[in-house]
């Protein structure tokens, strides 16, 4: 059972506050350095991918299904935004319709994936099917049958002017705060979802699918709903990526993208929501540093995969929580899905 709000002790609130303050003042601190734009850019990327990883955690950590097709949502969300803003001559300058459309797309794709995945009892079959969907969408984007995705080249020059016709998001710093706000809202929304009876049922299904169905839960409906919730937020992250990079490309459907969501989540600790935030921060930081020093990020990424799965499948957050809340040690449960 997730820790209830009343049980949380003071140090945790302090911790949360300090993270919030740091995130708010970070752009100011960056502006004092000589490569402020680059740093802001990286942290925005980190926040968007953290949102992506959190959405993955709903399906993996809570519903206990291993999706290797979450790139569907990231790439799909980005392309929905790119197509609306750039390809079909609507001449919308505001980002809001694109974000909404991406989220709608996410829910629909989530429904499709959930429908297929929930029909398959084997976790491996779920993995293969989700993977195939991402792959198919990536190929469709490259084939470009409707002439709207610009084939191999992807879409570039996506405008980023305003959000909701009021908030300007043109500058890197303004966009930073918008993404920070979206990430925070999404985090609290997702936390409310996983702490609701719906979230408890998902956990029950993850622990024992058969028992849950004997108890009268319609397992497939819950699994589909988990995919839809996940698709909603993941596609939002995709649309934000399109605005952040001002472009999107077929590589966004690559299975390394789906794999990244897994690694961020598992490193931080799956089934915790906070874990993906921690994991994303660490991996993106490592990627920037190692990528710069050795020009061979993938090699290290592979080693991270092996090291994590062999020696730390529970992730970091359970350890952090133990340190912060020694009193609650007995309540901390193993949140690693066993599927």
């Amino acid at each position: 059972m997730p820790t209830s709000h009343a049980q949380r002790t003071r140090p945790v609130i302090h911790w949360w506050l300090s993270v919030g303050v740091i995130l708010v003042v970070l752009p100011v601190a960056f502006s004092l350095t000589t490569f402020s734009d680059y740093l802001t850019y990286v942290v925005v990327r980190m926040m968007i991918l953290a949102l992506f990883a959190m959405s993955f955690d709903i399906v993996y950590g809570y519903a206990g299904m291993f999706s290797l097709g979450h790139a569907t949502f990231l790439g799909g969300g980005a392309y929905v935004a790119g197509i609306l803003m750039r390809q079909i001559g609507l001449d919308i300058q505001d980002a809001l319709p694109a974000l909404l459309a991406a989220m709608l797309f996410g829910v629909l794709m989530g429904w499709l994936m959930g429908f297929l995945a929930s029909r398959l009892a084997s976790p491996l079959a779920v993995l293969l099917v989700t993977f195939a969907i991402a792959e198919t969408l990536g190929l469709l984007v490259m084939a470009d049958p409707l002439n709207i995705t610009n084939a191999d080249n992807g879409i570039s020059g996506i405008p980023r002017q305003t959000l909701g016709w009021i908030i300007g998001i043109k500058s890197e710093v303004a966009f930073y705060y918008v993404v920070l706000a979206i990430l925070s809202l999404s985090f609290f929304a997702l936390r409310a979802i996983v702490r609701s009876p719906f979230g408890d049922t998902l956990l029950a299904i993850r622990e024992n699918r058969q028992r849950a169905s004997f108890l009268g839960y319609r397992v497939t409906h819950y699994q589909m709903a988990a995919f839809m919730v996940s698709g909603f937020f993941a596609s939002l992250a995709g649309a934000l990526t399109a605005f952040h990079e001002r472009s999107c490309s077929p590589e966004m459907f690559n299975f390394f993208v789906s794999g990244d969501a897994f690694i961020y989540t598992v490193l931080g600790g799956s089934g915790t929501l906070v874990g993906p935030l921690i994991g994303t921060t660490i991996i993106i930081t490592a990627q920037e540093i190692i990528g710069d020093l050795f020009h061979n990020w993938l090699f290290f990424l592979g080693l991270i995969y092996i090291g994590l799965i062999m020696f730390m499948p529970g992730g970091l957050y359970p350890l952090v929580r133990k340190y912060l809340n020694p009193v609650q040690n007995s309540c901390v449960q193993d949140t690693t899905p066993r599927s």
């Binding site: 297929l116 398959l120 009892a121 993995l127 293969l128 061979n296 799965i309």
Partner: protein
């Protein structure tokens, strides 16, 4: 388009299918026995191709030498991966998904090592002298080497079938597949045999890599790219069934060949994935075999 074109594309489809079937058989044996999908399978295929490239560029005899050499290297490496990593995870009672992720990590690291040794530029290997040229087959003239690939695939699949149905070792492996606990209680050294079979699977992948090199060319991503099609082949075949793999391998090979001729290479691939998704909606157990739903 005429009959000759169709005959030619059918042969092309069968040649590709020959390679798919070899690869998918290794994948599906391991899947049936251990319940895991070896995502490093594509890596072993790629490694086999590069071993072929290296040996062929020395002597003309190289090609004949590199079939066993590639088998040896990739099967030992695969057995090592099983014995050191996957078996440990099994001992720690981890789920199959963890084992899949482990093989994925291994594949990523391995691919980077291959890039480091052989470079990232796509390369080509040549066909051995004995198999150069073409043979006339009724209306079409077909390269000897491509026929050789089809023949090799048939021989290896026949050997596998004989192994599983007519040898003691094969019977033991099947008994593990059906009921591991009962088999072990009758004295079967299941951990060892599992490692051996894993190595056999990756070894066949290595051989498939050598065979495919002169036809499909070499680049470090060839494994990952092919893996996606292989997933479709084994899902359609009904995860874990050898016969199903053969049928679905031929089906997918032909879809890709005809699709490429009528539409484009990209469209053919989309068609393949589309077919799989549609089949899974209406028949979650795949076309043949024990199926996705139960395993």
């Amino acid at each position: 388009m005429n009959l000759t074109m169709i005959a030619l594309q059918t042969m092309n489809g069968l040649t590709i299918a020959a390679i798919y079937i070899l690869l998918a058989s290794g994948l599906t044996i391991v899947l049936g026995l251990q319940g895991i999908i070896n995502t490093a399978h594509g890596f072993f295929y790629m490694l086999g191709a590069y071993i072929g490239l290296t040996l062929v560029s020395y002597t003309d005899l190289g090609f004949w030498l590199c079939l066993p050499a590639a088998f040896l290297v990739t099967s030992l490496l695969g057995a090592g991966l099983e014995a050191s990593g996957i078996r440990t995870l099994t001992k720690w009672n981890r789920g199959h998904v963890h084992q899949v992720v482990l093989t994925l990590g291994f594949a990523i690291v391995g691919t980077e090592v291959v890039k480091f040794i052989w470079g990232t530029v796509p390369q080509n290997t040549s066909v051995p002298a004995l198999l150069r040229g073409a043979i006339s087959l009724g209306p079409i003239v077909y390269p000897k080497y491509w026929l050789f690939v089809i023949g090799s695939s048939i021989s290896i699949m026949a050997a596998l079938w004989i192994f599983f149905h007519w040898t003691g070792l094969g019977i033991l492996v099947r008994s593990i597949d059906i009921n591991r606990e009962a088999s072990e209680a009758l004295g079967t050294n299941a951990p060892l045999l599992t490692t051996v079979i894993f190595g056999l699977g990756t070894g066949i992948a290595g051989v498939a890599g050598v065979l495919a090199g002169p036809i499909l060319g070499l680049d470090p991503n060839m494994g990952f790219e092919l893996l996606m099609v292989l997933f479709v082949v084994i899902i359609l075949g009904g995860l874990g069934s050898l016969m199903g793999t053969v049928v679905s391998g031929i089906l997918i090979g032909l879809i890709i060949a005809y699709g490429t001729m009528l539409l484009s290479g990209l469209a053919a691939k989309i068609l393949v994935f589309g077919v799989m998704i549609v089949i899974l909606i209406f028949r979650p157990t795949g076309l043949l075999g024990r199926g996705v739903a139960v395993k």
